[in-house]
Amino acid sequence: MENQLYLSSSPHIHSGETTDKVMRKVIYALLPATALSIYFFGLPALSVLLICTLGCMGFEALSCKLMKKPIALADGSAALTGILLALNMPPSSPWWLALFGAAIAILIGKQVYGGLGYNPFNPALVARVVLLISFPVQMTSWTSPAPLGSGLDAITTATPLGEMQTAVMLTGKLPELAHSGFLDYLTGNMAGSLGEVSAIALLLGGLYLLWKRVISWHIPVAFIGTVLVIGAIFWAVSPEKYPNPLFHLLTGGLLLGALFMATDMVTSPVTNKGMLIFGFGCGLLTVLIRLFGGYPEGVSFAILLMNAATPLIDRFCRPKIYGQAEAKA
């Protein structure tokens, strides 16, 4: 009879908070924003969401099978990537675009690096940027919201940020929409990606994550704070040319990015100091690209660029260990 007792190295208890639970909480946090975008954009939004999510899970299972690894769908990370990708797509995206995005996100963004935990770039953002550069037309055709049951038809229109860029380029002045309509921006009644729309729903999800301690405050606060401060400086210098910082905050993907994409643990720094630097860098690059760059929206690029800098930030932001300062003195 063999000894059935377990022997192991200490400690012998665990908090019970496992990776799949963490991922599940992030998915819960995204539910309000997802529901609201389905309300505003109707069935097309739902189909993009389903294609992206199921696509990501399918490609994850496929690549695990190809590499003869255990199929890791249970950790929920593929589904999360799918939802985040969908939230980064225009509601009018054709099905093949969404599917292609899912393939890029999982295969190139994640699995070639060895799967969960090893990808240096946020997979959903990799997919979004690849699509944006490869299919600029499809990725920038926006529709106005047509809430379920309102009987409205979705009309092609521009996002507030896009309109602002065009107006500034043509007239050198901000368009009317940069000064008003903030209530619509807050609830999400505007054109944009699925997840860019409702500030309130995103904030709700973000607060849930902060409350559950899935994310720490450092990245969102540094990110949003930097955008607000730099936005405010430009606005104070020339309110004719540069928009109100609130406009920066409520339109585009800033809240989605700051609360859900930049806080992706795998691709952001691990130390608090590093997270502050990371958030600051994201904010700075976002404002610069929005105000001066060729693309109307800079959140995705800013986060990807800071993802690239993450190994360096980690390297130079090691926490000071206990007793180290005294040892040197």
């Binding site: 063999e2 000894n3 059935q4 007792l5 377990y6 022997l7 192991s8 190295s9």
Partner: protein, 282 residues
């Protein structure tokens, strides 16, 4: 045309002169033999010579601080080439391979406890001296697999390390990492080995392992020249092991194996003939 030839030629000449002067004035000695030796070394930087890499070894040979026969992966051919470069007589070193002297996988050898934690033999060994009742047997968590720079070791499905005689270069890295010294260096020419590493008495070995050496002396009786028994464990005497195979059939616990006729159970390696070292996969 002339202008172009002259200007380009002029620039070239000026550069040549400047470089020529600099080469004389700022010359730094590098022994050409060092480069030549580096060329013939395998370049795996495995560290079997005791230095961090092939470059360091090349430097050390030229400096005379190390002998040229300390590169097991390179084999005789490399030694000869280095010796040729250095102009010294080659020292012979018979090719050796590492052998895991254990067949007690998780089915054949009993467990002392259920191990939970890091998949590493050294880590498991620290917990109550390892999860197997046998104090010398292979733990099978693959520390040697990770240590092997040549990918020559596999762990079978039932948790036993097996070393490929084709891919092993004799660098001894696995021996350095194994917490139980269950891996031994043996001459490549010898294919028959006693695959047990327990110094416990036969009665105790029988309790925890189906394929352990119980020191019954039968092998020594059948082939007295080929076997010795020390500390309740039989070993092949490789210097005089002409007829070691004859004992295989007689061994009651089947702990003697001729690798020429097959690797231990569960291994994916294909048996190779005695003494030969087939072409290594490129």
């Amino acid at each position: 045309m002339l202008a172009s030839i002259l200007t380009l030629g002029g620039i070239g000449l000026f550069a040549a002169i400047a470089l020529g002067i600099a080469a004389k004035k700022f010359a730094v000695e590098v022994d050409p033999r060092e480069l030549a030796i580096l060329e013939v070394l395998p370049g795996a930087n495995c560290g079997a010579c005791g230095l961090p890499g092939c470059g360091g070894y090349a430097k050390a040979i030229v400096a005379g601080s190390m002998a040229p026969n300390l590169c097991p992966p390179g084999g005789a051919e490399t030694i000869e080439k280095i010796a040729h470069i250095m102009g010294v007589e080659a020292l012979s070193s018979a090719p050796k391979v590492a052998v895991v002297c254990c067949q007690g996988d998780n089915i054949k050898a009993s467990l002392k406890y259920q191990y939970l934690g890091l998949e590493d033999c050294n880590a498991a060994q620290k917990i109550a001296d390892g999860p197997k009742n046998c104090p010398g047997g292979c733990i099978g968590l693959g520390s040697c697999v990770r240590a092997c720079p040549f990918g020559a070791i596999e762990i079978t499905a039932e948790g036993l390390a097996v070393i490929s005689r084709v891919n092993c270069t004799g660098c001894e890295k696995c021996i350095a990492t194994c917490p139980r010294s269950v891996i031994k260096m043996t001459p490549l020419s010898a294919t028959t080995h006693v695959l047990c590493n327990s110094n416990d008495k036969g009665a105790l070995v029988r309790k925890y392992c189906q394929v352990g050496c119980i020191a019954c002396q039968i092998c020594k009786k059948v082939a007295p020249e080929s076997y010795t028994i020390e500390n309740f464990l039989a070993r092949v005497v490789y210097d005089s092991a002409e007829n070691a195979e004859v004992a295989i059939e007689k061994c009651p616990t089947k702990c003697i194996r001729d690798f020429a006729s097959g690797y231990p159970e569960g291994s994916s390696f294909a048996a190779v003939g005695p003494g030969t070292k087939p072409e290594q996969a490129a």
